[in-house]
């Protein structure tokens, strides 16, 4: 199933004009605050009526301003996961989870409740009030509540933004499972490079109310011309297969024939992983380096160079493992005579790759 969105809306001086498609899996609306992400997700939810547009899931039309169709939120069959949880304070966890079921018409079996409660690990919380839950627990109940309303479309508005790092790591795997197990499209708003790297099947990069680029995550995140969250947050994705775990705490991965060493990953060999390589942590070298402590050296050629207004330049390097982004100074780019087609080595320290940037 695919969600198709075309919208235009104005707020004072800000104007939004966006068109994109969200297929099954997680589509991340990726951009800074003020880029129009929340406006889009609220228009899809029906909580905001845009000036003009069309929103549909396959042939089911939620909004068509020309035809005069605009379904109210309660008829849109949504599962909306909010940043602040928004659990009902007068209901306990079980009642919160089952709230959507009152309105679904067809009754679901309680096996569904058991399955989702087990998946989210919230069985011991069922009789508690939301006030007595931690931030991470609230968010898990929020996810369960959205899933149990039997949605045709799942929306998540920065669901991890109000959690601390540890809680984020606790919740991220649930979204990975959701992405892999649920067939309905999931529209996920975020400005976090880690979340987009871990979760996105499709990325819709938003800049100032416009779609700068949309497509598979590897493609959009590897493009130096699109920086929805700024140059500091840039980083390409590489796909790799775990081939060995070593005694010294490292895991060995194969990425298109290139050997990568990462801090030990908690998955068995043979598993396919996505690794986000922060552009800031990549060093470039014209010669194959020797006597260097860094363990990962990816040979390749320069694809594109984007010089910013500041001292930095973003260089995209085509390697057998995929495109890698490197953020270097313009001075270095000049002294290395970097230009399109020049052969180069991208060097990545093993320990520069954070565990949260590696996922399934």
């Amino acid at each position: 199933m695919t969600l198709s969105v075309r919208l235009s809306h104005d707020f004072g001086s800000f104007s939004l004009k966006a068109e994109f498609e969200a297929p099954s899996g997680i589509t991340v609306l990726y951009g800074r605050s003020g880029s129009g992400k929340t406006t889009i997700i609220n228009a899809v939810a029906g909580l905001l009526s845009p000036k003009a547009g069309r929103i549909s899931v396959e042939d089911w039309v939620l909004l068509d301003s020309e035809a005069g169709t605009n379904l109210p939120p309660h008829k849109r069959r949504l599962g909306y996961i909010f940043q602040e949880g928004r659990l009902f304070p007068h209901l306990n966890v079980r009642q919160n989870l089952l709230y959507g079921r009152w309105f679904v018409g067809q009754s679901q079996q309680s096996a569904e409740l058991d399955r989702i409660v087990e998946m989210l690990g919230i069985g011991h919380l069922l009789d508690r009030r939301p006030q007595k839950l931690s931030g991470g627990e609230k968010q898990r109940v929020g996810i369960g509540r959205a899933l149990l309303s039997n949605p045709k479309l799942i929306l998540a508005d920065e669901p991890l933004a109000s959690l601390d790092e540890e809680r984020k790591q606790e919740i991220l795997p649930f979204f990975e499972r959701l992405r892999d197990e649920v067939s309905v499209p999931i529209l996920y708003v975020s400005h976090s490079p880690t979340e987009v790297g871990r979760l996105a099947t499709t990325v819709v990069a938003l800049e100032d109310g416009k779609v700068a680029k949309q497509g598979p995550a590897v493609e959009v995140l590897g493009d130096p011309m699109v920086l929805p969250a700024g140059a500091r947050a840039a980083g390409a994705l590489i796909e790799a297969v775990v081939i060995a775990h070593h005694e010294d705490g490292l895991s060995e991965l194969d990425a298109g024939g290139i050997r990568l060493l990462l801090p030990k990953v908690p998955v068995p060999t043979g598993h396919r992983l996505r690794v986000r390589i922060p552009a800031q942590d990549v060093i470039l070298s014209r010669q194959a380096p020797e006597g260097l402590s860094a363990l990962n050296i990816l040979p390749g050629t320069v694809e594109t160079i984007r010089s910013g207004e500041g001292p930095g330049a973003l260089v995209s390097v085509k390697t057998p493992a995929g495109s890698v982004l490197a953020r270097v100074t313009r001075r270095s780019a000049d002294s290395l005579d970097l230009a399109e087609g020049v052969s180069i080595h991208a060097i990545v320290k093993t320990l520069a790759i954070a565990p949260e940037d590696v996922g399934g």
Binding site: H74, Y80, R86, P89, H90, P130, R145, L155
Partner: protein, 229 residues
């Protein structure tokens, strides 16, 4: 403390009048409070003014206006009389006067609790499939319930104490329209009535204080409940 039959009659009638005044005006009170808190419509300020008018007008004026509106010879009173509904000089008239005088207090308390409800919770309810009436019944109403109760108790207490509009509209007929305050007033007008008056004063103080304390307690609960996300 023993009350004489005449005194009991006044207490009983007061409770009856106040109970019905509160109960019948409650749905309208919730609707008015919701409209004032949430809807923007032409005449919103005017409605707000009319609701609060009985708080500001001399009660005698309110009673007089009721009398000229609902007297059997007045157009509206006459029309209702043909349907068998008579307010003037009946206990139902005392209830009407009490309801109108207590209405601003009720609406204020309910409106405050509606304004304290986070609209985001209602949006969450809508995204889970609840139509607007269901959002109100399953989210808004439970969250404002302590406020509704507090408003009702305040209105009940106010109705118990209503004097000016009642005596103007329905007079002071023992067993018919003589409520606690008008009974106290009547006892004070006759020699030897001081003891009866004193006993009724004590009853009044107990009822009013009890209502106030209960209402305070419920207000604290609404704050806790609505704020505790």
């Amino acid at each position: 403390m023993m009350l004489s039959p005449a005194e009991w009659q006044a207490v009983h009638l007061s409770v009856q009048v106040s109970f019905w005044a509160t109960l019948v005006s409650l749905p309208l009170g919730v609707l008015t409070a919701y409209a004032l808190a949430r809807w923007s419509f032409p005449g919103r300020q005017l409605l707000n003014g009319i609701v609060h008018l009985p708080l500001i007008l001399p009660p005698v004026v309110t009673g007089y206006l009721l009398l000229v509106t609902f007297a059997p010879k007045a157009p509206l009173g006459g029309f209702l009389a043909e349907l068998g509904i008579v307010f003037a000089f009946r206990w139902t008239g005392a209830a009407l006067a009490a309801a109108i005088m207590a209405f601003p207090l009720m609406v204020r308390a309910i409106r405050l609790s509606i304004e304290a409800v986070d609209v985001k919770l209602e949006q969450a309810s809508a995204t889970l499939g609840a139509s607007p009436p269901w959002v109100f019944l399953t989210v808004t109403l439970p969250l404002i319930l302590p406020g509704v109760l507090a408003g009702s108790i305040l209105a009940f207490a106010k109705a118990m104490g209503e004097f000016g509009a009642t005596i103007t509209f329905v007079s002071n007929i023992p067993g018919q329209t003589q409520t606690l305050p008008t009974a106290i007033y009547a006892f004070l007008q006759v020699p030897g009535g001081e003891n009866s008056a004193l006993r009724l004063v004590i009853v009044s103080v107990i009822v009013s204080m009890g209502a106030l304390l209960l209402s305070e307690m419920l207000s604290r609960r609404v704050a806790k409940r609505v704020g505790g996300v």
